[in-house]
């Protein structure tokens, strides 16, 4: 293999793809990046056996070939080079990388030892073309409610599914739940995508992407944007029937400025550290206020209050971190917070008839 590429393109490819290559692996080759000529392009790829990330870079190919080299070293080296042409040349199992007065020899491993990259039959796959802004927002809104508990693998994923003519994303860790309606669709889909894959997809998406393609086959999902492809296994199993958990109506409702709500949650949370984040929300129709109260027995206590448009009065105790995370991803300057007594689920959403994002938090015992 011998070829030349621009430093900018190669560096961007190595840093994007390289994150999937792990230093902490039983199989040393998984910490390497695959470099392989593919027609008139250079394929840059890494995998951790769950996720594969690939990117094609325009290159001037002098002779075809392939090699794998340590991801971290090659990424850091290329990113430190000046913006100029970089020459890559394989000699035995070494990769010679040179640019101007910089010359390195990096010890590699034959590409034959690299795991096969996953393939998808794209003609038969279910395919969505999404607006990158909506796509990123939907991921950010749902992955925060996925579980980290590996003993319940289904809940570590986000449920992509069609329902009444629309594509929905949903996630729950048993304590909270989120649902985002993304686009209208005629296709039938029901797939659980690991939240860790979606996090990697979010990190890989540059700001200047014009669209994102998502393809599902029986057991895999592929995300594609501007030459980057991330392919991941799906999680086996049936996602819980979460819709029955969303209360259609609630007794008490507060419509409140989102940034004011965030501020009182932040302040109140400071005093809730000793009590596992527990804050008591008091909604008072006469006072027209939503107040948070938290007690740190050793340190003191806090009451923080904000004006709100209230229907009925009541009290419920919640984890302040969950409140903060929900407020952080709800769109719009105002939010609705509604609940029915101390033990039924609290519902948060933007204002309006048919919000495209709903966030549920289960109360704590107070």
């Amino acid at each position: 293999m011998e070829l030349s590429v621009t430093q900018e393109n190669l560096s961007r490819a190595l840093s994007t793809v390289g994150r999937v290559a792990s230093g902490k692996t039983q199989l040393p080759i998984l910490s390497n990046i695959l470099l392989q000529t593919d027609g008139s392009q250079l394929l840059v790829a890494a995998t951790n056996l769950e996720i594969a990330s690939t990117l094609h870079v325009g290159a001037k190919i002098i002779s075809p070939g392939s090699i794998t080299v340590p991801a971290r070293l090659v990424s850091e080296f290329v990113s430190s080079l000046p913006k100029a042409t970089v020459t890559l040349k394989v000699e035995n199992d070494h990769l010679l990388v040179s640019s101007g007065k910089f010359t390195s020899r990096i010890n590699g491993v034959s590409a034959e030892e690299f795991p096969e990259l996953p393939t998808i039959n794209e003609d038969e796959a279910i395919r969505y073309t999404l607006n990158p802004g909506d796509f990123k927002q939907a991921l950010n809104q749902t992955i925060i409610t996925a579980s980290n508990d590996a003993t319940r693998p289904i809940l570590t994923g986000i449920y992509w599914h069609s329902y009444e003519g629309a594509l929905y994303l949903a996630g729950t860790d048993g304590y909270r739940l989120s649902e985002r309606r993304l686009v209208e669709t005629d296709s039938e889909v029901a797939a659980i995508v690991p939240a860790s894959t979606l996090q990697e997809v979010l990190r890989s998406m540059h700001d200047d992407i014009s669209e994102v393609e998502v393809l599902f086959d029986e057991s895999q999902v592929r995300f594609r944007a501007e030459g980057i492809e991330i392919t991941s296994r799906l999680i086996d199993g049936n996602f819980p029937d979460y819709r029955q958990l969303i209360p259609a109506t609630s007794e008490v409702s507060a419509k409140i400025d989102r940034s004011e709500f965030m501020r009182i949650v932040k302040v109140s949370g400071l005093f809730a550290r000793e009590s596992g984040g527990s804050v008591t929300v008091t909604v008072d129709e006469d006072a027209g206020s939503l107040a948070l109260h938290s007690i740190a027995s050793e340190l003191g206590e806090n009451t923080s209050e904000a004006s709100a448009d209230i229907r009925s009065s009541g009290q419920v105790t919640l984890n302040s971190r969950y409140l903060a995370e929900a407020l952080n991803v709800i769109e719009g300057s105002m939010v609705e917070f509604r609940f029915s007594g101390k033990i039924s689920p609290c519902v948060m959403s933007e204002l309006g008839e048919n919000p495209n994002y709903i966030h549920i938090i289960m109360p704590l015992k107070s």
Copy 2:
């Protein structure tokens, strides 16, 4: 005690002073901040017994008094409040903090249990008034060469001393040495200031400071700028006679663009991780180049080169991290790098006859 202050002033004081209060202490009260009325001002103070940091804040005093409260909680609480007036009121051993619809009770400890703050007889102290830019640069240039080794306490400090009519700062960890000439002076001073104090001083200095005062008495130093005062003990003992270690002349000299030198050091350092940072510098008069070579036996090797204005040729092996840190703090677009063979000290400085900063690195065995 009862008073009101602006949120901005109080928050800035708490966060500046609060860093000195440590959560990791045998003496719980050291993790508290002292709040005490002082005439028409509020004194905000913290100490770890080595360093005391104090700040005065303009306040509307309703009744005098004092209390100590947990530094982290009160700082975070006040910084989260809206920009408005904050009222502080002591009731028993509680501090009531309120602002608009935010009310907190913070459990405190009587100020009588707080350690006495250090005093300096300012009339008899040796005093320097320094330009904040030069002052910060001098600290940044010298503290990187102070030792972290607590078994050699003298080397964990920076030596402030007068010599031939100028104030100098010097530091050495035995592997490298730095000396900065700061201002002309008639006073005689010789004091070893803990590098940790200087780091705290650097963190506390805002960008909009117009001058810094430094005062020395027999056993203490005080730094003062815009109402902030940091007072620290000095380190007992005699600083080594380091001047004899600085070679007046060297056989080999390279004058080189500083940013190019930084880049080749960074690249070369990537391949030097396995060998404890070891890179070999080759200066070649005929080629007019300075080249770095590093070898990572497992991973590969690198040669990086830059043009330089050379006198004589030679080779020396150094720690690439030391080179990088020195280049980072030398002023100017060009640096001089000079040495005499493989075992004598390397000298780095800005160009010119009488540079105000000199950085020495001892070679590694090659």
